[in-house]
Symmetry: C2
Subunit: 458 residues, 2 copies
């Protein structure tokens, strides 16, 4: 709990209207998309870098946790205040400060909604590719903290690949600038990319400089249905083998298809066991040719049906099914344990086989979908209360299989709370040791987002 | 100096044939492309990760410096053993361990020559884009240490953008694996990108996993000549404004053109004051169209002459002039002070103006060329001994101008020895402090490449 004198100081820093302490207000800032919940002691809504810095200096003097928060759409508990403390909500620092068409960069505050930035740059013929599923709600600050991925990562990479520089408040309150407004810079260690994906444990970004690309001239999309998931996985590989790099390559399994069809009350797949969605972008002539080649590859790989979207409405129709998966899954079981494992793309058939065996062994329903193009599979164990314990064992086995195949336990959600206990499986003692040393040296009082990433912090 | 017992231990680790101690052998490992020179006490040529680890454990026990070295082509003194110690030469760890066409990755040892990897993957229709000027000699380990850039960075980024994972020996000898064989991974802090560009001060890579792309189907190249450098800079900007992202966009100034023409004994420019080289790549139809649009843009921007390469021979002709700059410059003056500043691309006219004023003020000849596409200008102060002092003042003023324009003092060469004294100008006290803390926590005995990046280490 905070001393009344500290609450008073916080009010002086952000203004009385921007410090919340009542339970009704606090509850809004207590959870994320994992549904984990924990009440903070207070919520501060700073309007400027200086205020963030002052709060962190105070926190180090008084030893209370500070938890940076964007929109709370995180998938691993990164913004949940598990040890109480003060939530730093960036909702007021939500300005696009600059879009520079000559330098192909944008400068934003952390509270800017990713989708807003995308729309703004696209209206100028520019492109900010990272597109987490929650892009209509999630913020750039949250994306930076978790290194958000998304559908287009297969071709365009993840948040990290676009962040050129940051203004960061360190855990001890100092303000530093990392990187530059330039495409390149090698002036010392890359603190920018150390901060991106550090889940708000090493610093909190107050300004973000991102790289922009020219907006691709055209986009073409198709869906293909298969009688087995293996066929679909092989078909996906054949695209890479043909040296085509699609902007999206999504896989949806049978259980997910059935859930979506029942949720949308619509027959999408005609009983198929798997669906691929392939989207290519680029100059008009080449997307036209590429989508034709992909169609041919799908047919040759034994697709039951291939549908090319010829209009925006048809394209929207294809993506609607993909987007409906998450809400649809909740109609099957009350809870889902959602893990975003990633394997080398050629290992997708192996990991799907392993997951299916694990599901059978523990008598669990596991639904798989996700980014086949980069090997990032979202595997969802659908459970009720009685199945929770078995699910936990299954998760561990899925991670073991993933690591055996040369993969990673998180492709884009981060470690946060959900995966902290499994991180040592992937990293080993020495690599984890390096990370902990960096944390301790930058945050000696363990102020910034404690209890995340490293288990024994909790 | 090393104790005889330590030399004996080193011989046991790498084998007697792979430990050099005679002056004639040591001198080969004493310098890099900056021509700075300093003799090591010994050179060890390990063949395996374990040997590297053992050497570092020994170094921590006996407190001698260890300096990792690739081919010695670095441009900032990164591999020069300024404090003596043992050079770790990776010439025997030069195997391409794997090229995986399904997963679009390659795994290499640090001693692999970058150009060899490029040829090998290109023969399979794949592409490793980073291409430092020294790609025929420089090694992947050196590229990783310095985060090498190159001509194609404007479209494809730098070394960092392609390194997915590493096996690294830490300064204290522990071996860690960072990243994964996958396109994405967010399992804890990004140690991979912290290591890349750390100039061999935080760890030394013993295995490197890089991402590959499909090889672009076609490449088109043109050269354009202008009567003023300002015209050329404006013409370069017009390409970005037209939302075309070339794979290379090079600028060569008047002094460089004259030097090349006299060196090659050939009139290239017909008296022009500046040359642009523009290269686009992608599907055939789109490169054909893009090169046509670029030609039009050049003409509209007032080019005196535009030459489109229609054959490989003509393309080679254009690049020959660009490649001749470095050797040609040495015919003007005995020494060049070469700095690779980078500014936001729209600021190129401003930085060129500033440099020209600085040159006039100090009565120096400054030659500029480089990667206009990403704002990375190689500025070369051509001097004899008598001018060295004035050049030093000019360098500082060029860096000040660069930073005022929102740039960085090094786009791709790194800090090493040459820029260590200027780094505080760019970073400020707190950011530099963070870097030093990371160095100290990972290398408490300051064993790995001491005297680099941080001035007061020297």
């Amino acid at each position: 709990m905070l001393k009344p004198s500290v609450v008073k100081e916080l009010k002086t820093i952000v203004g009385p209207d921007n410090l919340f302490t009542s339970p009704e207000e606090l509850v809004v800032y207590s959870y994320d998309a994992t549904k984990r919940e924990s009440l903070p002691w207070a919520v501060a809504r700073p309007a400027a870098t200086e205020e963030v810095s002052k709060i962190l200096i105070l926190a180090n003097r008084e030893h209370f946790p500070v938890i940076p928060r964007g929109a709370g759409t995180g998938m691993s508990g990164g913004s949940v205040p598990v040890q109480g403390g003060v939530v730093l909500s960036f909702e007021r620092m939500n300005h696009i400060l600059e879009i520079n068409e000559d330098d192909l960069i944008a400068v934003v505050e952390p509270g800017v909604v990713t989708g807003d930035l995308q729309r703004e740059v696209e209206s100028r013929g520019l492109f900010y590719p990272p597109d987490p599923a929650s892009h209509q709600f999630c913020t750039m600050g949250g994306n930076v903290a978790e290194c958000a991925g998304g559908l287009r990562a297969v071709k365009y990479g993840v948040t990290k690949d676009y962040v050129l520089g940051l203004e960061v408040v360190l855990p001890t309150g100092e303000v530093i600038r990392t990187g530059a407004r330039t495409a390149k810079s090698v002036a010392g260690y890359d603190l920018t990319k150390l901060m991106v994906g550090s889940e708000g444990t090493l610093g909190t970004a107050t300004k973000i400089i991102v790289k922009l690309l020219p907006l691709p001239e055209s986009v073409r999309t198709l869906s293909a249905f298969f009688s087995t998931i293996e066929n679909a996985a092989v078909a996906a590989s054949s695209i890479t083998a043909a040296r085509i790099l699609p902007r999206a390559l999504e896989l949806v399994d049978q259980a997910a298809l059935r859930a979506v069809e029942s949720y949308l009350k619509q027959d999408i797949s005609n009983g198929a066991a798997a669906m691929l969605i392939v989207e290519v972008d680029g100059p008009i002539e080449s997307t036209e040719r590429d989508i034709g080649r992909v169609e041919e590859l799908m047919t040759r790989a034994g697709a039951m049906r291939v549908t090319r979207a010829e209009t925006d409405v048809e394209r929207e129709q294809i993506w609607k099914a993909r987007r409906a998966i998450s809400p649809a899954l909740y109609t099957i079981k009350p809870k889902k344990v959602n893990e975003d494992i990633v394997v080398p793309r050629s290992k997708i058939p192996d990991i799907l086989r392993a997951i299916s065996e694990i599901a059978k062994r523990h008598d669990l329903l596991i639904v798989n979908f996700g980014h086949a193009g980069d090997g990032n599979i979202h595997t969802n164990i659908m459970i009720d209360e009685a199945e929770a314990e078995r699910a936990e064992i299954a998760v561990k086995e899925i991670f073991e299989a993933t690591l055996r195949l040369g993969g990673s336990i998180s492709g884009e959600h981060g470690i946060g709370l959900s995966k902290a206990r499994y991180l040592p499986m992937e990293l080993g003692f020495d690599a984890l040791g390096v990370m902990k040393k960096i944390k301790t040296t930058l945050d000696p009082n363990n102020i910034l987002n404690p209890g995340k990433i490293f288990l024994n912090d909790e």
